[in-house]
């Protein structure tokens, strides 16, 4: 390469320039004092930290322009710790930079590769040792060893089996059944159609029987949104229209994309929006996806009223709620 030959020459390591503290005793003394002062500031920080821990009450709030209302105990405690730590570092670095030796040193590197001699010796040793052990010859031992090591590798998989149950129909079933009453969440009160004005939204759950509190795993499947619009605004198939009652339509609140709660309802446009990934569902058209990454509409729950006038489910959900999974059929 012609470049190499006529390249600009390396002038070599420049001469060392001494610092002021190296040559001037006054500067040296000054630097020493500065380092000591930095260490002392750190000590004061620790004292402040201890003071704050014991003597500043935890319920005092002070106002600072940028920080807003701040808890004095936590603020001073933190500042004390920060000062204590930071100034130890500042002192050490100032010490190193002004008073410790600062002459650059050159050390040589060696290539990572071992010498040929060492490599050959290694190969010879390995061959000799392996040969002595008969690794190449004893294929019966090798194969049975492979079998046993392979099998024992499976044992963690067996042991981890009890991490959880098989899904069964857990992903496809919810607590909604024919005749299940819709109750408010929170409050657990049954609702009548007239409780909802046009334009209103309510979160409901299936009526809960039994002593125990509702499990979060049930809420994660059962949460339903009730929305009331004017009945003539629906653009639904006759079947889906029969699933609504007097302008009230019910959808699973669990997003068909990744399972977040679809909680934002825009009254004017009648869109439901998921705050996680902004999938947008059009309520009058059976929650058809009009924007975002969701691929399926929110499942619709068929509702009607019972003899006492309370809203009930006509039947269970006709499809699994929540995010997609392999065994889902549509």
């Amino acid at each position: 390469m012609s470049n190499e030959i006529e390249a600009i020459k390396d002038p070599g390591l420049p001469a060392h320039v001494h610092r002021k503290a190296d040559t001037d005793p006054v500067a040296e003394k000054r630097a020493e004092r500065q380092v000591a002062i930095l260490f002392l500031i750190s000590a004061l920080g620790t004292l402040l930290f201890i003071f704050a821990y014991y003597f500043i009450p935890e319920d005092v709030f002070v106002f600072f322009p940028v920080l807003g209302n701040t808890n004095a105990h936590q603020l001073v405690l933190g500042l004390g710790l920060a000062i204590a730590l930071f100034f130890i570092g500042a002192a050490a670095i100032h010490w190193a930079k002004t008073l410790m030796p600062d002459e650059e040193v050159i050390a040589m590197r060696h290539t990572m590769r071992s010498d040929d001699e060492d490599r050959d010796a290694l190969v010879a040793t390995v061959k000799e040792r392996a040969g002595a052990a008969g690794l190449g010859r004893r294929s019966l031992i090798k194969r049975s060893m492979g079998l046993s090591l392979g099998l024992i590798g499976l044992s963690p998989l067996v042991l981890l089996r009890d991490l959880g149950p098989l899904p069964g129909d857990d992903l496809t079933k919810t607590s909604w059944n024919a005749g299940t009453r819709l109750v408010t969440d929170p409050g657990d009160r049954p609702i009548r159609p007239e409780d909802l004005e046009v334009g209103a939204v309510a979160q409901v759950l299936p009526e809960h029987v039994g002593e125990e509190r509702r499990h979060l795993s049930d809420i994660a499947k059962d949460a339903v949104l009730l929305i009331r619009i004017r009945p003539e605004e629906f653009q639904l198939s006759p079947e889906r229209l029969s699933w609504t009652y007097d302008g009230i339509i019910a959808f699973s609140k669990i997003c068909s994309h990744m399972g977040c709660a679809v909680a934002l309802y825009e009254q004017t446009t009648k869109h439901l929006l998921c705050p996680c990934h902004q999938s947008t569902f059009d309520v009058p058209r059976a929650a058809k996806v009009i924007f975002g990454p969701a691929a399926r509409p929110l499942p619709q729950l068929a509702i009607t009223v019972d003899s006492e006038g309370y809203l009930i489910a006509q039947k269970p959900f006709s499809e699994p709620v929540g995010p997609s999974f392999w065994e889902r059929s549509s």
Binding site: L77, A90, L160, G259, S329
Partner: protein, 528 residues
């Protein structure tokens, strides 16, 4: 001999007779480390890891990793009388009743953000300067592993308080597991001990967060540092510095004092942030309930790009023979990140395949002198940045009064169009900077002093640059493109012709550069 020397001598003798440490110490206390501010980035990561271990240990003394339902009766009034998990209640207890508890929580969270940010910037330093080249490929791969595990560790960490925001994040993670073809719903049920959310995941991710992953971190960081020590640090090119030497300061005492001092600086800054800057105020979010959510749900920034990709994915789902494949989750959540991180891990090998360079490298590259690599890096960063922006599309839309659709469509188009544009622009800038370097070496620095020549012409006086700077600007190697023949000596087409062609094309693009000035050029100029 003073008393102090006697005591030190006795102790040292005792240890050395049992370990033989003196020989190793003698050699390594004077070990030379090159100095540059960009070499501190990795140190920041190491120190934040130590801060995380210290503050994290403190938090475990009170944190109750359980989803057992409790009735809150602590001192934070707005939540009194609410049912919540013991994990959430104990997080409130640490924040409000333990003195210094909130400070430690905030230091822990800030240290985690600095840990991640430090890793990303350290990775950029290593990438753009070519520090990953032979013999350091193993350390590059360990680094990619640490970054990946760091993302997981951070995510699990902020999921532990079991608040409404973090529970939503776990819900999304569960949906990704559930989306896997064939095994998805089984894996999800194993991970959560049944249907989401169940009562098992907080105790389980706690073990992973405080034991399993920190253990792996500790092991990987140890190997990472041992390799740095053994292979000796890279250095910037400059006068007196070659591929065969290392120029810097000996470990003892200056380097020790600086590195040790820097630990306290990093800890001090983290403590300051923990004191004044509120982070993850979980008491405002409330306990997790799968039927509720808060608007503007955002992950931490190092997960934001992933969320951004998921948000911009087109609504694609296939139904084949009664089975569902949710591409809208698999592509952004697993396939694209998988390709990105695999590509990143393999990059040193890809580059050496392109350049055909199998030598050891200890001198760093100035990014401008390797335009293709620099441009590829900026291109990847642009991709990540667009994804990250889209991860906050709702916040951006509300802050700047834009439609969410506008931000989303900007990202969907931008993520395809902007990275290549960034590549081209960066490459042009690199070549221009090379041109400027050449100009500077050949014609010196413009002094701004004007000179009127006897015949009335004005010229600007140029001052020659120092030999040190001239060397620094020309020390790099400009390797020509690989010469690959499509046919062998007898005129027969080679196997793998397409692969060869591709390699040739990339190698040619890679070798594009502005010729650096030579001593001959300089002499010629002097003659004029």
């Amino acid at each position: 001999m003073t008393a102090r020397e006697r005591v030190t001598g006795t102790v040292a003798n005792y240890v050395d007779e049992r370990t033989g440490a003196a020989k190793w110490m003698k050699k390594n206390l004077t070990k030379v480390f090159p100095d540059h501010w960009s070499f501190l980035l990795g140190e920041i990561v190491l120190y934040s890891f130590i801060i995380l271990l210290l503050s994290g240990t403190f938090l475990t003394f009170w944190f109750d990793p359980s989803q057992r339902e409790v009735l809150y009766d602590g001192s934070y009034e707005p939540l009194q009388g609410l049912h919540m998990s013991a994990a959430y209640a104990s997080t409130l207890h640490i924040s409000f009743e333990i003195r210094g508890g909130l400070l430690m929580r905030q230091i822990h969270h800030w240290a985690a953000l600095i840990f991640m940010a430090g890793m990303v910037v350290h990775l950029m330093r290593v990438y753009f300067t070519g520090a990953f080249r032979k013999p350091r490929e193993f350390n590059w791969i360990i680094g990619v592993g640490l970054l990946t595990l760091g993302i997981v560790e951070g995510f699990l960490g902020y999921s532990l308080p079991d608040d409404l925001l973090s529970g939503t994040g776990i819900r999304i993670a569960e949906a990704i597991i559930q989306a896997l073809p064939v095994v998805g719903s089984y894996l999800a049920f194993f991970a959560f001990d049944g249907a989401f959310p169940g009562e098992a995941f907080i105790p389980r991710i706690f073990t992973v967060h405080v034991l399993l992953l920190p253990g792996i971190f500790l092991a990987l960081i140890t190997v990472h540092l041992m390799l740095v020590w053994y292979q000796k640090h890279t250095q910037w090119p400059g006068p007196g510095r070659t591929e065969k030497n290392v120029v810097g300061y000996p470990l003892m005492p200056a380097y020790m004092a600086k590195a040790g001092g820097f630990f306290f600086i990093v800890f001090g800054v983290t403590a300051f942030l923990g004191a004044v800057a509120s982070i993850n105020p979980v008491w405002l979010y409330g306990p997790y309930n799968p039927g509720q959510i808060s608007a503007g749900s955002q992950p931490d920034w190092y997960m934001g790009w992933l969320d951004g990709l998921v948000r911009m994915a087109p609504p694609l789902e296939s139904y084949i023979f009664g089975y569902t494949i949710p591409w809208n989750i698999l592509i952004p959540g697993l396939i694209v990140p998988g390709i990105l991180f695999t590509g990143m891990a393999l990059y040193p090998f890809i580059e050496s395949w392109i350049t055909g360079d199998k030598r050891e490298h200890h001198l760093l590259d100035r990014p401008r002198n390797v335009p293709n690599r620099t441009a590829l890096g900026v291109m990847s960063l642009t991709f990540m940045l667009v994804a990250l922006i889209n991860g906050g599309n709702d916040i951006i839309a509300t802050t700047f009064s834009l439609g969410i659709n506008q931000v989303m469509w900007f990202s969907r188009i931008g993520i395809i169009v902007l990275p290549p544009i960034a590549f081209v622009i960066t490459k042009r800038i690199c070549l221009s900077l090379q041109r400027a370097d050449r100009e500077l070496v050949l014609h010196g620095r413009e002094t701004g002093r004007l000179l009127m020549l006897p015949h009335g012409e004005f010229v600007e006086v140029h001052e020659p640059i120092s030999p040190e700077l001239a060397w620094k600007l020309t020390a790099h190697e400009q390797a020509p493109a690989l010469e690959l023949q499509d046919v062998d000596a007898r005129g027969v087409r080679r196997a793998g012709g397409l692969k060869n062609k591709l390699r040739k094309r990339i190698s040619q693009a890679n070798a594009e550069s502005i010729a650096k000035p030579t001593a001959n050029d300089l002499k010629e100029i002097e003659h004029h």
